[in-house]
């Protein structure tokens, strides 16, 4: 069936909540209001206020509340209204959730799922537009997932709910309305497994989240120009499926990494380093390149906002330059 990314996420939660009484959702305005982006719309009617728990505006604490419930064999799904607000939740996620299992020598498991919409596009300025995956990339004990289409969103969300670890599940606001095919039957998309979106031979593009969709468009344009792109979506940002990306680079010999978040210390830096220190490095015919958001806060003006992050035409141009050997032009 064809569903939106938003509905795929909702379906995953509904199906898991029907199946497992330990699963509940907690967050701001997720009940009657249906969530700031409408993801939980209508769920209150089926599951009631004890499983669709509206909270006061206390992110730092209700993150801890969800964590406390996770320690008690519940399966909390925490909705943070905008990923930007995870700054409030940072202590509970970074110092508590990510470390409790380790610090207690494995006594506890921490099945906390943190869902948060991120990314720019709706013109909401710098505090409602960030890509936050890099904030958490440096924290052992966390997993980070960022689906780029409805099929992955539903399958990964079910896997994330079932995972015994803290998973940061990053949904992109611009993806909520995109449609895709989702099977009727129950399925999972495994965490820690990259997806080869399109096979190709000339260059590998590793793209994340919204940039996967833009890279699909770019690859189609490039195909008409006789450039064959192999497009890989890691889907799970931490831990990375290094094997799949290494294999692809060994095949194509060229690599472009595309992500929406800022360049400094971004996911691209990590992927580039992984390739640089792998045997794939020896196969490279060109330097590794990154297309990312500029190192600026997201501007309010919508024309500027678009310029601040990689768009389809930017990807096309960059690939052409790499292929032509105009590396530093």
């Amino acid at each position: 069936m064809i569903v939106t990314y938003k509905d795929a996420i909702k379906q995953a939660m509904i199906e898991k909540m029907r199946e497992d009484p330990r699963v509940f959702i907690i967050g701001e305005d997720i009940g009657v209001y249906g969530g700031a982006f409408g993801v939980t719309m209508g769920m209150l009617e089926e599951f009631g206020p004890n499983r669709i728990i509206d909270t006061p505006m206390s992110e730092a604490s209700f993150t801890g509340v969800a964590l406390g419930a996770a320690l008690m064999d519940m399966r909390p799904i925490l909705e943070i209204m905008f990923a930007d607000f995870l700054t409030f939740s940072a202590d509970q996620i970074i110092n508590q959730a990510a470390k409790i299992r380790f610090m207690t020598g494995g006594q506890f498991k921490v099945p906390l799922l943190v869902r948060a919409p991120q990314g720019s596009g709706p013109g909401a300025a710098a505090q409602h537009s960030q890509n936050v995956e890099a904030w958490f990339l440096n924290i052992p004990g966390l997993k980070i997932v960022a689906p780029s289409n409805p099929y992955d969103a539903k399958g990964l969300l079910k896997s994330a709910i079932e995972d015994d670890n803290t998973v940061i599940f990053l949904e992109h606001k611009l993806l909520y309305s995109i449609k895709g095919n989702v099977p009727e039957e129950d399925y999972r998309v495994p965490i820690e497994k990259a997806n080869i979106v399109a096979e190709g031979k000339d260059i590998t593009i590793i793209a994340t989240s919204i940039e996967v969709q833009r890279s699909i468009e770019a690859a189609n344009i490039l195909k008409e120009k006789s450039i064959s792109v192999e497009l890989i979506d890691p889907r799970t940002i931490k831990p990375l499926d290094v094997e799949t990306i290494v294999d692809s680079v060994k095949k194509t010999h060229q690599l472009l990494i595309v992500h929406e978040g800022c360049k400094d210390g971004g996911i691209g830096a990590e992927i580039a380093s992984r390739i640089a220190e792998s045997e794939a490095f020896l196969y490279l015919d060109a330097p590794i390149f990154r297309l990312s958001g500029y190192d600026i806060p997201i501007p309010y003006n919508m024309n500027l906002e678009k310029k601040a992050t990689p768009q389809v035409e930017d990807i096309v141009k960059k690939v052409e330059k790499i292929i032509k050997g105009e590396w530093y032009a």
Partner: protein, 329 residues
């Protein structure tokens, strides 16, 4: 006047024994630290033993606690094994956390101890979430959340009390007001005389008690825990107490006088409880001597166990970062 309540004399003696054990454990810990066998830092609770023991004895074995960086007392009161505690202190594989947590993070999930956090106040929302889980699971247990006066100035303290009250959660908040958050005096940083007054803001019962009197602690926690257990919501208890030793091992005690410390020592919870129990002919000098001698032997045995225990192996600690499916708690 001591309130014997309905307590069996053996329980009163056991309460005394636990207080003596906590002090002996910490005195020995300090010696080990001075010998260089314990590293990092440690936070001693000498003077505060009545709060840990009175509170934990007032709840059931199947009730949960969350603890703090100054948590040895809570752990011993809940039934902590001295061998595993000393081993953890010394960073040994036989310690509660395989030497990965140390002094600040000793916990035992089997004792319904949900962990001790080194970030002040961070355990309060976790305790609140555990109480939410108990309410959802319709269990008859409650949560006892230990924290100090310093934590009562963190935002998440207020947020958590608010949520605990709006949801009428089965939780008792117990503030161990030892008069100083490191060097920060409550006189200087808390405008009201009693921290318990903060409960009023949440329409929650708040009570200030003498934290040097184990029976006063017992009585108030008993009442609050029954309130929580019968669905009548949370309580904030402030136990006024005092730490004889510095905040941690770097403390030069520049912020208080020797006279002040000596004044508080006159209210020593152990000495006072001994004389009360003697007055009531529950114990005599011989019983007290036997308690001290037995604990002395237990401490020596536990330290020897810890000293002779193996170190954790580096290759084995990676498994505690993430849970694999189906294992752990």
């Amino acid at each position: 006047m001591i309130k014997l309540l309905d307590l069996d004399q053996n329980i009163l003696i056991e309460m005394l024994r636990k207080m003596i054990m906590i002090r002996a454990f910490e005195e020995e810990s300090e010696k080990l630290f001075m010998k260089g066998l314990v590293h990092g830092t440690m936070h001693l609770s000498e003077g505060e033993e009545a709060v840990a023991v009175g509170a934990v004895f007032a709840i059931k074995k199947t009730d949960y606690i969350t603890s703090t960086h100054r948590g040895h007392g809570h752990m011993i009161a809940k039934g902590g094994d001295l061998k595993k505690m000393f081993a953890e202190f010394l960073g040994k594989d036989t310690g509660y956390c395989h030497g990965l947590g140390g002094s600040m993070h000793i916990a035992d999930s089997n004792l319904f101890h949900l962990g001790a956090t080194g970030v002040v106040a961070a355990g309060i929302p976790i305790a609140t979430g555990a109480a939410l889980a108990l309410q959802m699971q319709e269990k008859n247990s409650i949560v006892l959340s230990f924290f100090g006066d310093g934590a009562a100035n963190e935002g998440i303290f207020f947020e958590s009390l608010n949520m605990a009250k709006i949801w009428e959660l089965p939780i008792v908040f117990i503030c161990e007001n030892n008069m100083y958050a490191m060097s920060a005096s409550v006189k200087k940083f808390i405008p009201t005389i009693n921290i318990s007054e903060r409960a009023k803001a949440f329409d929650m019962p708040g009570i200030t008690i003498d934290g040097m009197d184990v029976m006063a602690v017992y009585e108030s926690v008993k009442e609050a825990s029954e309130r929580a257990r019968t669905g009548n919501g949370p309580t904030l208890i402030e136990a006024k107490t005092y730490r004889y030793k510095g905040h941690s091992k770097s403390d030069l005690n520049l912020y208080r006088t020797k006279e002040e410390i000596e004044e508080w020592k006159k209210k020593d919870p152990i000495e006072n409880f001994i004389s009360k129990l003697k007055q009531l002919n529950i114990i005599d000098d011989e019983i007290v001597k036997n308690i001290y001698d037995k604990i002395d032997r237990e401490i020596k045995e536990a330290v020897n166990f810890a000293l002779n225990s193996p170190e954790p192996k580096f290759e084995e600690i990676f498994k505690y970062v993430y849970s694999e499916k189906g294992e752990g708690k």
